[in-house]
Symmetry: C2
Subunit: 235 residues, 2 copies
């Protein structure tokens, strides 16, 4: 593992084999990071999906509890008690649904979104600049080859000057694209730590908020209600 | 809505039109209850399914966080901090996964299981006894018809006695099956209230336990860890 932080921009113009070799290390690292980020995003989206499904499921349950009243049972004896208890439970499930909905939104905004942005912005940028750098390097190689194939005769001076200008332009282009590419690779190293931790900070904050509010909601009030319902059922 | 609690067993033998009419009310009620129970079970199974998926999703996320260490990043600078933070988050997700797993088990045992048992035992019993009662009534009707079609001549006395015995046996059988059927319908009315409320009591107890333990877990210890990670990220 080389003890370097970044690709030096002043090395870009010379484009030495050492610089190229260091570049390949940064590229390998970016490739590993892209793969890992995709897997992490998948795992996080699964958690978000489960959270979302919990919202929909609690919504359906609450509706189903209210629906008892509308069944028009042929025998309705004792139903008032059941109806009012199921109404209460429906309200509890609604409150729970609010908490789940809030958590789902938080997970979307503070866990899934940052890692999607990291992928779409930082990783995609590196990959685009890699392609552009590859194209510019190719062009530069081609114009260099063209120049070196020119006959050494004096009467070709004019053509040589033309091709020389082409080579210079290609080198400027390659230099510029390598500067951009190096910058993006350096920035990726800089962003890496934060990109990995930020979504989990969002996740943890969401969970803390969820449990805090949930514990407040299911307070002693709920306990006493449950024991009175349990008494009723035992009667 | 008739002001009755139950089908009187002493009316079963006479099998009057009034008793038959009351029986149909109980049957209609049982039909409505069966439909409603199936819908409620479906909604509860959806909640259980979402809870179960949350267990699997958090398990996958925890593994993915640990996997960062095994990526062999080409550039490992500053990774020790990321690795140890992701390890800590993985432990947090594991603890959360334990809570989710416990809740899923409680929902299975105290919400889904009771309502499945109500359906498989009480509702299925009523439906089976309804079929048996129908068969026995049919047999009784057939033997009655056979008896009434017998010629009135004196020489048929022996046949009449035979068929008379058949009728009596069919009536005993029908009477017995109606007694069982009435009992099951009465028991269903008795169980109805409890069967509707018991799963929701289980649900509420599970949630209370979940939030209580979750709030304890995400205590101040977690808050201070998060702010130190946030500081690190900002540096």
């Amino acid at each position: 593992m080389p003890a370097v932080d970044k690709l030096l921009l002043e090395e870009a113009l010379q484009d030495s084999p050492q610089t190229r070799s260091l570049l390949s290390v940064f590229e390998e690292d970016a490739g590993t990071l892209t793969d890992y980020t995709n897997q992490l995003l998948q795992a996080m989206q699964r958690v978000y999906g489960a959270q979302n499904e919990m919202c929909l499921a609690t919504q359906q349950l609450s509706k189903q509890l209210l629906a008892y009243e509308k069944q028009n049972f042929a025998l309705g004896k004792g139903d008032e008690e059941v109806i009012s208890t199921l109404h209460y439970f429906s309200k509890v499930v609604d409150e729970l649904n609010l908490l789940h909905t809030e958590l789902a939104k938080q997970l979307a905004d503070t866990m899934v979104l940052p890692i999607i942005q990291f992928r779409e912005k930082d990783l995609t940028e590196v990959s685009t600049l890699k392609d552009l750098f590859g194209l510019a390097s190719n062009e530069h190689d081609l114009s260099m080859a063209k120049y070196s194939r020119l006959p050494k005769k004096k009467e070709n001076e004019k053509v040589k000057t033309e091709v020389g200008k082409e080579v210079a332009a290609a080198r400027r282009k390659q230099h510029l694209s390598s500067l951009q590419y190096y910058c993006a690779l350096n920035a990726l190293q800089y962003r890496k730590q934060m990109a990995m931790m930020e979504p989990m900070i969002g996740f943890a904050h969401g969970q803390i908020n969820f449990f805090k509010k949930g514990a407040e909601m299911f307070s002693k009030r709920m306990d006493s209600f449950l024991s009175s319902v349990a008494d009723m059922v035992q009667r």
